[in-house]
Each structure stands twice: as C-alpha cells, then as structure tokens.
C-alpha cells in the first residue's frame, strides 16, 4: 500500500506528545515572516513559527511545498528575501548560528574522491573543532559508522553515505539538526537505524526538524509537526503546547 502523501490530522495526532523528550527551556529557532523568491516566483510566503528546544518536529508538505528551501534558509545556505530567522538567539547566517546548526541535505556534501575520515577532518577545520581526527571518529561512533572511516565517499552505498553525512552534521556538536528527507532512497534496515539514531540525538538534547512528504516513517518518532503548502505554513500540531510548557 502506498503511504499517504501528507500528514493527515489523524496521524498528526498520533505524534508523540509534549514532554517526552529532554526538558526544554525555550525555543531553539524562531522564524518570523520568512519569504523567499526565486526570480519572481515566491517559494516561501511569510513563514512564521518557533521551534521548541530539545524536541523533534516533523515538517510535512508535498513536493514543491517549500520544505527544502526553508531548511536551506535555516541552515544559512540561502538568504531569505525578507523576514527574520534566529537560531538560538543569533541571526541566521551569523557564525554563531552556523556553529549551532547541522544540515543533512539531499546530497552528502562529502567529496567522493576523499575518504570519509578526510572529509570529516576537513569539515571539522571549517567549524574550528580543536581535535579534528578525534571529532571525526567520535561523530562516526555516534552514528555507528566507525567502519566507514577509511572508505572513499564515492564508494559508499546510499545508506552508508547517509550515515557519513549525519556524522558530518554532528562533528561540531550542533544544537539544531535540520534533516531534509533523511529516509529517501534508504532500505528498511537503514531507516530503522537512522530512526534510532535520531531518537537518541533528541534524547541527548538536540532539536531536530525533519522534513518529509510522507508521514508513515516519523509519526511515532516526532513530538509535533508543521505542515506546509505552496510556500505557506498551514498547520502546527503540538508545537504551541510544547512552547507553553517550556515557558512554564
């Protein structure tokens, strides 16, 4: 049976309730009227939301809803045409915000000619991590990918590549992890492994925003959800409650 295209209200209600993750004190991310045009075409139209800290939030939406554009803006890869985005209180694209953010995108961002260890050590330098080799080994251990260290990124299977890419995101111990369709093209065993990994990261105190156009794989994993349609945020499930709880 094909999975539904977007989150239905029923499945969205089945999302993990507030209070299940590590205790959050405040919002990790604040996005205020973020707009983005590609040429004359508005891909994001005044997206406003807050993301509670230490939670895993799903970002639902059809293909073309603007999820990847939003995540790229939050990661600092794209500039918003207008609007304000704060990551942990710092303006998006500032060095402080970049240090708090990790992006797992459609591509691994790892150069295929270099080994995974070489790639990770290079990124560790870009993030000013002191012990580059140690940080690379530790990040691989967090995703149970120690065996990947000496393999060239171009020789990895899709699942291995996704693990190595996740290790890249974790190198600099970010507070916010942006996951863009993390289960795309993965087999069931790897999906299960990635799910377990994401849950562990949330329980360790990270905030995760996970985009997908199907809700089948993440409804039981996430604490709340946001839904986008045609560049607009049309629904937020459980997020307000978590923010209120954190404020108390």
């Amino acid at each position: 049976m094909n999975p539904p295209e977007t989150a239905s209200p029923a499945t969205a209600s089945a999302l993990r309730g507030p209070g299940t993750g590590a205790s959050g004190a405040a919002w990790q991310l604040r996005c205020d009227k973020a707009t983005r045009f590609f040429g004359a075409f508005p891909v994001l139209r005044g997206v406003t939301f807050q993301l509670p800290a230490h939670r895993m939030i799903a970002l639902f939406g059809h293909n073309g809803a603007g999820k990847s554009t939003l995540l790229n803006i939050l990661a600092g890869a794209l500039k918003p045409s207008s609007g304000t985005v704060l990551i942990g209180g710092h303006a998006v694209r500032s060095a402080a915000a970049r240090r708090q953010t990790g992006l797992l995108s459609h591509q691994s961002l790892l150069h295929p000619t270099l080994t995974v260890q070489e790639n990770l050590e290079f990124f560790a330098t870009l993030y000013d991590v002191a012990d580059r080799a140690g940080a690379a080994r530790a990040a691989l251990a967090r995703v149970r990918g120690e065996h990947l260290a000496n393999l060239r990124a171009g020789e990895l299977s899709q699942g291995m590549k996704q693990k190595a890419a996740l290790a890249r995101c974790l190198l600099h111990t970010p507070q916010l992890l942006l996951l863009d369709e993390p289960f795309a093209s993965l087999d069931r065993a790897t999906v299960a492994e990635m799910r377990r990994c994401f849950a562990e990261l949330r329980d360790q105190g990270l905030t995760l925003l996970l985009s997908t156009h199907t809700d089948e794989l993440i409804t039981d994993l996430c604490d709340g959800s946001l839904t986008m349609e045609r560049g607009k945020l049309v629904a937020a499930e459980g997020v307000e409650a978590m923010l209120s709880e954190a404020a108390r």
Binding site: R98, H106, Q107, S108, L109, H111, T113, L114, E118, L126
Partner: protein, 224 residues
C-alpha cells in the same frame, strides 16, 4: 589562527584531490605541450623568431592551460554539493578562497616548471636570455592569473555556460597583467633588459587584485 587552519586545510584538500585524480594536471600539461610543439613546427627555430614573438607564444600556452586548473578549482565543489558544505560552515570565506588560490597557483607553477625548459629547447633560446628574470615574471604572472581566475571561477560556478563564462570574465580583466607578462618575457628573451615598467605594472596588479579577491570572497562563495 582559525583562518590559517582553514587556508591550510583547503590547500591540502585541493592538492590531495588533484593528485588523486590528476584531472587538471594532465589536461593542463598536455594542452600547453601541444601548443608549444605546434608553434615550434610553425616557426623555424631561428633565434630571431623567439626574440620577436617568444613571450607571446609562451604565455598563450600558459594562459589557456592555466584556465583548465582555474575552471576545476570550483567545478570539483559541485560534486555531491560540497560547495553547500563550504557555504553553511562558519569558516572565513577569504581563507577558503586563499586556499583555493594557492592550490591553483601551485598547480600552474608545476606545469610551467616542466614546460619552460621544453620551450627553451624547442625554440632554441638565445644564450643571452635572462632565465632568472623569466622565472620571476612567470611566478608573478601566474599569481595574477590565479588570483583573478579563482575569483571568477567561484563567481561562474552556478552558470550553465561556466566554461565559456570563465574566459569571458577573466581575459578582459587580465589584459594589463598579460601585456606586462608578455613584454617582460620578451625583453628577457631578447636581452634588452628594460623591464622596470612591466615589473611595476605586474606587481601593482598582483597587489590590487589579490586584495580585491580577499575582500570580496564572501560575496562569491555565497553566490546562489
């Protein structure tokens, strides 16, 4: 200190990538070799020929072969989206650009170190040639091309016709440097020795365009 580490890491990574694939080195070397050999067939190996047009022949080979290395500098960042990795990192764009510049500069110098002696043999260079001067001009000229070329290579990364755009952007801006390189090399080959003006022009050009590339690095790294 962080900027130095980023510079060295980028340089080391780019050189490692090049020595594993040898894409730019092979293409550059064979292109320049072909140009020099064809010109050596076209012009007889008379000393008068090389003293009249030798500077131009040499820099045609170096300039167009060097463009291969400059084109590759950011083209390799398009693989698996590694340019996005550079864009989202908090590292100084100037340090990344400096690392890329240094790697292109060293690769071009490696190609020139092999082809300069070959040029001397094939064109029967006169005994009065000032080779130390030619080596100096080659280093300064290559610096100018690498500084501009790295910048324009980054700028044209996302263009559909990037291989066409790079020479279109680079060559007009490089005209003052190219004139200085060719004229100074010509003077050293003919033994006339009057190169003071060309050295000043080349040095000023290198300083200005290296500084511009450094200051504007964040703009080109962030090109969407």
């Amino acid at each position: 200190m962080s900027g130095n580490r980023v510079f060295l890491a980028t340089l080391q990574r780019d050189l490692r990538l090049e020595f594993r694939t040898r894409e730019a080195l092979n293409a550059m070397f064979f292109y320049a070799l072909l140009v020099i050999v064809i010109f050596s067939f076209a012009f007889s190996a008379e000393t008068t020929i090389i003293t009249q047009i030798g500077g131009g022949l040499l820099w045609v080979a170096f300039l167009f072969a060097g463009m291969v290395a400059l084109d590759r500098a950011f083209l390799r960042e398009m693989m698996e989206g590694s340019l996005t990795g550079l864009q989202i990192a908090p590292a100084s764009p100037s340090a990344v650009m400096a690392g890329k510049f240094a790697s292109s500069f060293l690769l071009m110098l490696a190609m020139e170190a092999v082809l300069l002696p070959l040029f001397a043999v094939l064109f029967n260079a006169p005994a009065k040639t000032d080779w130390a001067g030619i080596v100096g001009v080659t280093i300064m000229g290559t610096w100018a091309l690498a500084a501009n070329g790295t910048y324009f290579s980054a700028m044209s990364t996302h263009a559909r016709q990037r291989s066409l755009l790079l020479p279109l952007l680079l060559l007009p801006v490089s005209i003052p440097a190219v004139i200085a390189m060719v004229q100074a090399t010509q003077s050293y080959l003919s033994g006339s020795g009057d190169t003071g003006y060309w050295w000043k022009l080349l040095t000023g050009y290198d300083i200005i365009f290296t500084a511009l590339g450094w200051l504007l690095a964040d703009i080109v790294i962030d090109v969407e």
